[in-house]
């Protein structure tokens, strides 16, 4: 990091702007920022796993839902304060993540993708049928702060999360994951417990998803099973991929971009999903063209936008 003073400078400026900006925004825009922020927390957590292992789980909406419902039920039924139910939500999602990760992470790409996809669908299926949890009808929470208050909490957690992921990625943990990806046998031979590292990285990503889900429940004031479907899982992975899997600020920008896109498309309720999907495909396809590669290479020279590139 010290080698790149520009990087730090740009991030610092962005942070100051983000801290100050809610005073100048209306409630709607702040709610968009809150959505983007909660999604960005999931995407940042996911980027550690995806970036270092090049595997892409497709069920993180399930962990997001587990976090959201844990927090909502604890807050409404047991009157837990927010500083208790946030960690509880993270813990619940992590436990589910470890339970899912242990059998499935031993396997290569398609198996993990399918198993996590199935998990996401299963969570939604269970919530749909769980009347005791108010899955389908939904649970309403009384917001404890105005949207602006949550804005700063989300921002603080996002920054803290990005910091944690950045350090994990570039520390010995991230290097171990990288080694596991590049040559599993060699990594194993040099004493890296590959399976454990892989599960740990997955657990981190699910913890982030759980906490983000809890934040979502609190600031939006309403959770129901229908908001946590497969499209959300795809969105999380798309945020990571569009932003550049290995680059934390890039992932946050990706999350912001896709959330903004969704908001714009909401104006066309019937076409929103299809247009959104079409734009994601277009972005991915355009990214493969020679022109885009050249642009990206150019971009990479400008410090804060080191898209899709690690600087570890």
């Amino acid at each position: 990091m010290m080698r790149r003073p520009w990087n730090q400078c740009a991030i610092l400026i962005a942070l100051v702007v983000l801290v100050v900006v809610p005073w100048f925004l209306d409630d709607y825009t702040i709610s968009v920022f809150n959505t983007a922020g909660t999604y960005a927390i999931v995407a940042v957590g996911l980027s550690l796993f995806c970036g270092r292992l090049r595997q892409y789980p497709l069920g993180h909406a399930g962990f997001f839902a587990i976090g959201a419902f844990t927090a909502a039920l604890l807050a409404t039924r047991l009157d837990w304060p927010i500083w208790l139910d946030l960690p509880a939500a993270g813990l619940a999602a992590t436990l589910a993540g470890v339970a899912l990760g242990l059998p499935t992470l031993r396997l290569g790409g398609p198996y993990l993708a399918i198993a996590t996809l199935g998990f996401g669908l299963l969570v939604q299926d269970i919530l749909n049928k769980a009347d005791w949890a108010g899955g389908r009808t939904g649970v309403s929470l009384t917001p404890i702060w105005p949207d602006r208050g949550f804005y700063w909490l989300i921002l603080a957690l996002l920054v803290a999360g990005a910091f944690v992921v950045h350090n994990l990625r570039h520390g010995s943990f991230g290097r171990a994951l990288l080694a596991a990806r590049e040559n599993e046998a060699a990594a194993q031979a040099s004493g890296i417990d590959v399976a454990r590292y892989r599960v740990a990285a997955f657990a981190v990503s699910t913890a982030f998803a759980g906490v983000a889900g809890a934040l979502f429940a609190h600031w939006s004031g309403f959770v129901s099973s229908s908001s946590f479907g497969l499209p959300l899982s795809i969105t999380f992975v798309a945020m990571v991929v569009v932003g550049g899997v290995d680059h934390t600020p890039g992932v946050i920008v990706g999350a912001g971009f896709l959330t903004a896109l969704q908001q714009v498309l909401e104006q066309q309720p019937h076409l929103a999903d299809a247009l959104y999907a079409a734009i994601i495909i277009a972005v991915l396809l355009l990214g493969q063209t020679a022109l885009a590669r050249r642009l990206l290479a150019l971009f990479r020279r400008i410090p804060p936008f080191a898209v899709g590139q690690s600087h570890g």
Partner: protein, 292 residues
């Protein structure tokens, strides 16, 4: 006893539908490494096309179905050329995101064209049910099983004994190896996509015939079971995947009846996890290379 027999039959019917979807999935996966999550949406597209051509355009049902299959075959070729071929050198995750995104695009396109609600799907298949050893089997059920059996047999025969099938197996084993001996890999992948979407359309038409009404998301739940079949059987074994898909149909029905209907879909996922835990290569697959 007749209850059990009935459950077995309807399980076999569902299983046959899963087999048709699974075959397409595994075929595309083996030659290109891409998982086609849009298989269910493509099945729905096939059903809607058949409905449109017979009810709105006025063709006879069978002609409409045949035309729909041909259109879906071409659609599969186009999907491969336009969307997936450009991504063949990119990380496979991008292809997965593309096929996943296709789900909402296809389902929305159907909804925009023909309505998001349900549509009545009329087939000319009517008449008294067959009686097989004391159990009544409706005609559409019999047709479903027959179509699945014939197509699966033809498919395996072709893969095993025809030159095209041999090329397909070669590409599945090693893309670069196949390329070295002069096989046009791109063409094989292309045909695999066409076949796979056509198979999806067959499944879609049969599902529609079963349920009489169709909706844009009609095949989504079927697809989950088909995926489970593919994984449980082992993604590298066509026969294993087909057999597992059939078994899933039966088990699902038995569980739904004897345990609880709530478990109809959940049991599939639990089975999937159990197999991944105990026998990660799948019941019929070869050992996965990565062992940790």
């Amino acid at each position: 006893m007749t209850t059990l027999a009935h459950l077995m039959i309807s399980g076999l019917v569902n299983g046959s539908l899963y087999v048709l979807l699974t075959l397409g999935l595994v075929l595309v996966y083996q030659v290109s490494g891409v998982i086609n999550f849009a298989q269910g949406a493509l099945a729905a597209a096939g059903a809607y096309l058949t409905w449109h051509l017979s009810s709105n355009v006025g063709l006879s049902f069978w002609l409409a179905a045949a035309l729909a299959l041909a259109i879906m075959f071409v659609a599969g070729l186009l999907l491969q050329v336009l969307l997936l071929k450009p991504l063949r050198k990119a990380p496979v995750a991008l292809s997965l995101i593309v096929t996943l995104s296709l789900v909402s695009i296809i389902e929305d396109a159907i909804g925009q064209n023909w309505g998001f609600g349900s549509v009545l799907f009329v087939t000319p298949i009517s008449g008294a049910p067959f009686r097989v050893g004391g159990v009544l089997v409706s005609r559409i059920d019999a047709l479903t099983i027959a179509v699945a059996v014939v197509l699966t047999a033809a498919f395996f025969g072709a893969v095993r004994w025809t030159p095209a099938g041999m090329m397909l197996r070669a590409v599945a084993q090693s893309t670069s190896g196949a390329q070295l001996v002069g096989i046009r890999v791109g063409r094989v992948v292309l045909v695999a996509w066409g076949l796979s979407t056509a198979l999806a359309a067959v499944a879609g038409i049969l599902i529609a015939g079963q349920s009489f009404i169709i909706t844009p998301s009609m095949a989504d739940l079927y697809l989950l079971s088909a995926f489970a079949g593919a994984v449980i059987g082992g993604m590298d074994s066509l026969a294993g995947a087909a057999l597992s898909a059939l078994l899933i149909g039966v088990v699902q029905n038995l569980v739904a009846f004897y345990v609880s209907n709530l478990w109809h879909d959940a049991i599939v996922f639990l089975l999937l996890l159990a197999v991944l835990l105990l026998r990660p290569a799948g019941l019929f697959g070869h050992a996965v290379q990565r062992r940790v």
